[in-house]
């Protein structure tokens, strides 16, 4: 490592990456849940 990574930058990205991962997980979970229920509804309509 020949550049200064800067302590503030490192800590922010650790926190940010964790938060973004949670958002991404929640987003994926919501999408899957929606897909699950819409597939059930579609089956009933058929």
């Amino acid at each position: 490592m020949y550049i200064d990574p800067a302590a503030g930058s490192l800590i922010l990205q650790v926190v940010a990456a964790a938060a973004l991962s949670v958002f991404a997980f929640v987003g994926r979970a919501r999408r899957k849940t929606r897909e699950f229920f819409s597939s059930i509804l579609n089956r009933r309509r058929e």
């Binding site: 503030g8 490192l10 800590i11 990456a17």
Partner: protein
């Protein structure tokens, strides 16, 4: 045989020139990383996809210092340009390339150890990563050391250009290592605090920097680790932030200049014909089109010359030019933002890190179409000074003289006294004969303007 002025910060190696060729020395301290990267196939994959400049192994005896482990010969970049000369679209494409290279590297277990905008150059209308030694093995749990550098080199300038004023890109000329986060945070409009990406990557980033300015990395980060998937998510978030940033090139006088020009269709055709004929006489390899606007005559030059660098002062005109290059997939045409009256100087340590415009020449041909009246009348630069500088920049010159009776010159003189007694065709020829031989001149049909072809060969450059 010399080491490149910009290549001294990274102890893993450096670039040097020898007998007209360009080489990169890889030092022994970096041997393991270099071998790991080579054997992983990452270099080959990136080169194959046009993301990384290709290189060949060279004779190790060419090494410049005893620390050498290997010597490689990278493909030459035809024209070196700098981030402070790029338009918004060019800087954004360079940022996206850097992030894509980082994601590709992570897939193969590597990471970018730096994210300098100077690691990117433009070749054939596309950004290409040029620093072969920027990769190192990814160590599980490690955050991205170059995150701050990426934000300061790319994200902050792009946000300032998109959200504040596109001319903020020129701050990169003063801040060679990127626009500092706290400066970017202070300059961005208040409303950007409500944008999650600006809030996170710029404003909170700047705050974190300030808060932990004196902290030791190991004591702050300590046991905190960052999984690879979290790192990929972070890079993906930065990527979508960069991709969403947009700037519309309109409303500046120059972006609409071609549409609002006083040329008739016949005059424009005549001018293009003369330019083409003049260039066919000398068949230049490299043409610099100064004051190119959106690149209409750069494209005429490109029919003959393999490389045309298309300079203009107006970021909107350059943006339009660059978008045309990308949309049409044009090669050999590089649009850049440059004020001919205040061209890029030599910058950085000992003025040797970034070359001045003149140091990157001379071009085979310099074109200065519909430019001299702006320099001489709007910029008060004496004709003799203009001729002397153009003689420094190019071996031949294709230049247009625009007389005082032309409506564009009348417009420049509308609200000021005419102090330009020497600004006449005679005065123009007299000034340029001191530095050039006038080979031929041709009036533009259906206009009062005259095009000249001149050469410095044999002319006094005193």
């Amino acid at each position: 045989m010399s080491r490149l002025g910009a290549s001294f910060r990274d102890p893993s190696g450096f670039v040097f020139g020898r007998d007209g060729a360009l080489y990169r020395q890889v030092n022994r301290v970096f041997a393991d990383e270099f071998e790991a990267c080579t054997s992983s196939g990452l270099y080959d994959a990136l080169v194959q996809d046009g993301m990384l400049v290709a290189h060949r192994p060279a004779d190790p005896s060419l090494a410049l210092t005893p620390e050498a482990y290997a010597v490689i010969e990278p493909d030459r970049v035809p024209f070196i340009s700098y981030p402070y000369e790029w338009c918004f679209g060019e800087l954004r494409d360079a940022a996206l390339l850097t992030l894509d290279v980082q994601l590709r590297a992570l897939e193969r277990g590597f990471v970018l150890r730096d994210a300098s905008a100077y690691n990117v150059q433009f070749v054939d209308g596309r950004p290409v990563f040029i620093d072969t030694l920027s990769f190192e093995r990814y160590r599980d749990g490690q955050p991205w050391a170059a995150y701050k550098q990426f934000c300061e080199h790319f994200l902050v300038p792009l946000m300032l250009m998109a959200r504040r004023d596109v001319r903020c890109g020129l701050l990169l000329r003063e801040h060679l290592d990127g626009i500092p986060l706290e400066l970017g945070s202070a300059l961005l409009p208040r409303r950007t605090w409500a944008e999650p990406s600006a809030l996170l990557h710029v404003h909170l980033h700047a705050r974190a920097q300030r808060k932990y300015a004196d902290a030791k990395v190991s004591s702050v980060v300590g046991a905190r680790r960052m999984s690879k998937s979290a790192l990929v998510t972070l890079i993906g978030n930065i990527r979508s932030t960069v991709q969403r940033l947009d700037w519309r090139p309109a409303g500046t006088p120059w972006a609409d200049y071609v549409d609002g020009t006083n040329y008739s269709e016949a005059a424009a055709e005549s001018k293009a014909r003369i330019v083409r004929r003049f260039l066919e006489r000398t068949r230049p390899c490299v043409v610099w089109d100064m004051g190119a606007n959106t690149g209409v005559y750069s494209r005429v030059a490109r029919e003959i010359a393999p490389l045309v660098v298309s300079f203009d002062i107006d970021p909107a005109a350059v943006e339009r030019n660059y978008r045309t290059v990308r949309e049409r997939g044009e090669t050999g045409l590089l649009p850049l933002v440059l004020d001919v009256a205040n061209p890029s100087p030599a910058l950085g340590w000992a003025h040797r890190e970034r070359m001045s415009l003149a140091e990157r020449g001379p071009a085979d041909t310099v074109m200065a179409l519909a430019l001299v009246h702006h320099l001489a009348i709007a910029g008060n630069v004496p004709l003799d000074h203009i001729a002397a500088y153009f003689a420094q920049l190019g071996r031949t010159l294709v230049i247009e003289f625009v007389p005082k009776s032309d409506s564009q010159v009348e417009r420049l003189l509308r609200n000021r006294p005419d102090i330009f007694a020497d600004y006449s065709r005679d005065g123009f020829e007299r000034a340029f004969r001191r530095h050039f031989i006038i080979e031929e001149c041709q009036p533009v049909a259906d206009a009062e303007r005259v095009l000249y072809r001149m050469t410095t060969d044999g002319a006094s450059t005193a």
